[in-house]
Structures are given as structure tokens and as C-alpha cells.
Symmetry: C2
Subunit: 357 residues, 2 copies
Amino acid sequence: MSRSVLMLPGDGIGPEIVAEAEKVLKKVNEQFELGLQFDHGLVGGAAIDETGEPLPGKTLDRAEKSDAILLGAVGGPKWDKLEMAKRPEKGLLGLRSNLKLFANLRPAILYPQLASASSLKPEVVSGLDIMIVRELTGGIYFGQPRGVRKLEGGERQGYNTYVYSESEIRRIGRVAFEAAQQRSGKLCSVDKANVLEVTVLWREIMDDLAKEYPDVELSHMYVDNAAMQLVRAPKQFDVIVTGNMFGDILSDEAAMLTGSIGMLPSASLNSEKQGMYEPCHGSAPDIAGQGIANPLATILSGAMMLRYSLGEEKAAEAIEAAVSKVLDQGLRTADIMSEGAKQVSTREMGDAVLAAL
Amino acid sequence: MSRSVLMLPGDGIGPEIVAEAEKVLKKVNEQFELGLQFDHGLVGGAAIDETGEPLPGKTLDRAEKSDAILLGAVGGPKWDKLEMAKRPEKGLLGLRSNLKLFANLRPAILYPQLASASSLKPEVVSGLDIMIVRELTGGIYFGQPRGVRKLEGGERQGYNTYVYSESEIRRIGRVAFEAAQQRSGKLCSVDKANVLEVTVLWREIMDDLAKEYPDVELSHMYVDNAAMQLVRAPKQFDVIVTGNMFGDILSDEAAMLTGSIGMLPSASLNSEKQGMYEPCHGSAPDIAGQGIANPLATILSGAMMLRYSLGEEKAAEAIEAAVSKVLDQGLRTADIMSEGAKQVSTREMGDAVLAAL
Ligand SMILES: CC(C)[C@H](C(=O)O)[C@@H](O)C(=O)O
Ligand SMILES: CC(C)[C@H](C(=O)O)[C@@H](O)C(=O)O
């Protein structure tokens, strides 16, 4: 049995961090005899530079045929002036929609070794472990119609459409209820049902689903309040489910509560459990090429890939244990550096994880 | 010269906190011989219960004729099952749109006396003083078309429209650039221009305006990153300008950084400087009627009203000084209580501010 993993380094620090994750994946591939085959492709700005397209047909083809994808990050100021359809982000969005990766799992976990990195008081965040389930192929990021039009008086008007159908809501709802079942049994659905009709439907479907999951306690929260509560008392949350845009905002906010977004992986899954895995952080063009980026979020994304798409729990745990070990050893990249620790480069961090395996 | 102030207590803790603010405003009215006349009206759930409408014609009439409005808060579980058009929130939204109150100013200020209330580390938030300028009468909260429709297959689809015209963006942009001029000269515009066309136009207009304000340094940030940066290093911001929805989310997040949202006022202005003033917090139905709500945000909203709509800077400063004094005296409502302070009721807090005037 041979399974294929597509590596898409992308832009900015993407190539550096994906290289380290690839070393780690290749090591567990041998150790655990996983039979994984690795392939590489272009996406985002790197693909634009080479082919003129953020998502070349060849990349999409390979992505569709692979069992799982590991992506670095896309985007950067170099491509910021391009028209919307030709931007690096369209490569990422195109992969998500073409592969129907509707379920985005974004854990926000505070590593005990890094507790001091948080900007929040230790008692507010110690032990933090939230799972945000973000709908990833619908909502306003994909809604039609969209664009900029001329109004009668001659001025321009920009417009986008925030749209969800019942089945889209139900599908992501199930993922969230199931995640809650496996965790504390608590699920909070975030919407703006006091103002936006699309989220009134969202709330109705979530309530409806709740009847099928009597072991899960469902609550609802308005998005503005959720943004506050994450700051005030984040440990009140276990699983949060929300749409594409609110999920984008809240998952980044939640990630930053830990103070170490360089540590946080994510998974984007379709209904066949095929998945794309990427760090929560972006392409960080300001530090690209300097060898100082933190590869751990990408390495941990590799672990999520082994768990969710490849069914290799043991190998996943081995990687997670190795990461924990290097943190115990006091090794830190610049973004998570603190007094008394030893600062290492991107490559040194990757090597240390390899050695700990 | 007589000027009229309309008091709209609304729902939940609204009546309790507005009563204290009214006492305070009446006192400065005498002290500074302001010639203010006070009137009262119904809005939100309170208006629904009495008249069936969240914004009765009589209230809107009076609001249009008044120089300024002080609003408590609207909404509560009692009215949560009503159809969208009949909800308490429509009263608030109706006032905003009918009076064209497009400019919402939401300061997030950390009171030194309350520094320990924040869930963030003192060094991260001490001295925090951010001004969020939120567009309030456009964007997705008002965009058409909106609703829930039946799709061909029979399932329902909810939809809302995120829309801004050039002139709407320019108008709020000017307010923000002028606010930045009066402060540090730094303005950050928040959008999602890497995905949403409407915010590409937003960014373009902001860049365009920047040429007219060479003394202001304009930067742009994606909303997901802004949600993170507010947690990581909020003091990097001075003035933030953004649309209705992002402003709703980010201003609540920013307010909570202070740990004392019960202290934060807000102003909503139109181009004639007529304004509606309200606390940043909501109607808190869970503690309504118990006499424990914090009236200071509403009292400080009264001060903003004197400053922005009535041109009474001295009276505004007198109220702010009185609030500072009661904090120095160690008086605290339950929400901002800390060890060693003296806990007081809503009314006792109002009385203390009166006494300090
Ligand atoms: C790069 C961008 C299109 C993307 C998004 O907004 O979905 C990113 O912010 C994310 O959260 O994965
Ligand atoms: C009550 C609600 C309609 C309102 C809004 O979303 O604008 C509130 O959250 C606010 O921020 O003033």
C-alpha cells in the first residue's frame, strides 16, 4: 500500500518550514514503515512567478490524486497589487474549494513549556485547549455575486455575498458535534443571529442537529461577544463552530492567546478525510529566507495529517512527543524565545525534532 | 438657548444605568448652566412590549428633533424568538440609519485604577488608549438583498450582502483621519482585501484619502491579523478605522482588553454632529433589576455627548474627573471589584459621581 503526500511549500517562509516538516515525515515514514510517497508542487506566489497562475492545473491534478497535502503558506507584498483572481490567496482558496475541504480544524493549545509567551495572565490561559471548527468552502469568502460595480450617479460600489445553505451548515455542524463528543461534550456555535439572516438559519440548523447529539451541550454566542469572551475567559470554551469569516477572525484571535502561533497546526478535511494541513501562521515575508522561522507548527501539521488523513496515530504521537521533548530541552526559535532558553535556527529546530524521534 | 437630550433607557440594565447618568447630567446642567432639556422615549424590547414596534414613530420623531440621545442598551432573551424585523436590535439599527449616525467612536482606554482587571499582563496593556472608528450605517448589517430563500432542490439558503460605496468609505475615512490628526497621527485601516472585493475598494479609497492627510501615517491590516495583534501587542494601535461588522467584532475585543467594559462609552455621530451615546456593553439581562450594574460607561457616554454634540468641553471634563475621583476613592461595582476596594451598587456609584462633581 503506497500513499502519496503532496508538499506545497508556497511563499515567504513556506519553503523553509516545509523542508523541516518533510525531513521529519520522511523519518517517521521509515521508522513506522508507512509507505508514504512524497511529491512537490507549486502554489501561490511561487506558482504565479513560474506559471502566471496561483493554482496551476498540474498542482490541482496532483492535489486531487494525493491522500494528503502539506502546505506552507501563501502570499506576500510582491503580489499584493495583482487583481483578485490572480492573487496567491486564490491558490489556497482554489485548493480548499476544488477538494471540498469544508472542515477546518484549528486547535488553540497552550504548551506548558511556553506558558510565559502569552500576553495574557498565566491563570487565564494555563491549560488552554480550544478546538475551533471553521467552515472553509462557503460563506462570504466564496459567495456570489461579488465585485465592484458602477452606481447610477457614477461612483463605484463594492459588494460580497454572505451565503450558507442548510446542507452546508448541517455538514460542518456534524463535524463539530462529533468533535465535541470526543472532547468535553461542550459546543459553542458563533453567529450574528440578531442582525444577519444567514446566521439565523445557521442557528436554526445547529439547534436542529443538537437533537441528534443529546450528549453534547450546545450554546450560541454572538460573534462580538465571542471575540470578547476569548480575551476575558478563554477556558470557558471547548469546541467552537462557526462560518468561514468569523472562523478566520476568531481562530487567529484564539491562536494568539497562546502567544505562540508558531506552534499551531491546522487541518482542512473533506468528507473522504482527504486533507490539507498547514500551520495557522502566515507566510511572514518579513523574515523569509533568514532561517529563523519556527517550523514546529508545520511539523505538527504533519502529525495531524498522519492522524486524520492517513490513520497513523502512532506516528502522529511520535512526532508530537518529539516536539514536546525539544521544548523540554529548552530549544526555541526566535518567535518563542525566552530568558534561559537556547535560541536555534529553523534547521536546527528541525534537526532537534529528528534527533528526538 | 435650550437644547434637548433624549433619554432612551431600553432593556435589561438600561433603565438602571441611564437613571444614574441622568442624575449626573442634570447636575452638570445646573452647575454649568447648560440649558439642557431632558425627554424620555421607548426603544427596543421595552418599546415592543408597549407598542409592538422596536422603534415607535414617536420615538424616532423625538430622536430626530433632539440635539443628542443617551441610550442604555437593547435586547434580551425575552424577544429572541421574534422575527428579525421585530427584534429590539432593529430599534437601535433604525435609529442609527434614520439619523444617519455613520461614525461610531469607540475608545478602549485602560483606567490606571483598574489595571488589574485586565486578563492581559500589565506590561501589555498599561496605558492602553485606542480609538476605534467604526462605520455604522452601511456594510453587511444594512446591505440588501438579504433573507432566506428556497433553492431549487428545496433546501433553504440564507444570504446577506456586504456592500460599501466610495462615498460611504470616504465619509468615515475622513472622520478617522481627523481623529488621527488630533491624536498620534497614526491610523490603521482594517479590511480583508486579500479575499473580499468590497474591502479592496475600501483600501483603495483609504489610500486615496491619505494623500489629503500627509500628516497621518496610514497602514492597512487584514482583519484576522488585527484580531491577533490586539491580543499580542495592543499598544501598537492608536486609531483604527474599519467597516460595520469588523468594527463590531474588533471594538468589543479591544474593549475587553481593558478588563472593564463596564467603563467604556461610545458615540455615534452624523455629519451635523448630532449624536447617539451609549455604553459599549450590552443589556446584560442576567443581572437586570438587581441594582449591581456599572453605570460608569453610561455616565461617561454622557460626557462624550457634552463634548461632541453639545460643545460643552468643560462639563464633559468635570464628569470625567468625577469618575476618576470615585475610582481613586476605591469605589467599585461588582464587575470591576478587586481586593481592598469597596463594592457599591449602581445607585451608590451614581451618587458618588454626583458628590464628586
Ligand atoms: C490567506 C487567507 C486567504 C486565509 C483565509 O482568510 O482563509 C488565511 O487567513 C487563513 O485563515 O487560512
Ligand atoms: C445590538 C447590536 C445590533 C449591536 C451591533 O451589532 O451593532 C451591538 O452589538 C453594538 O455593537 O452596538
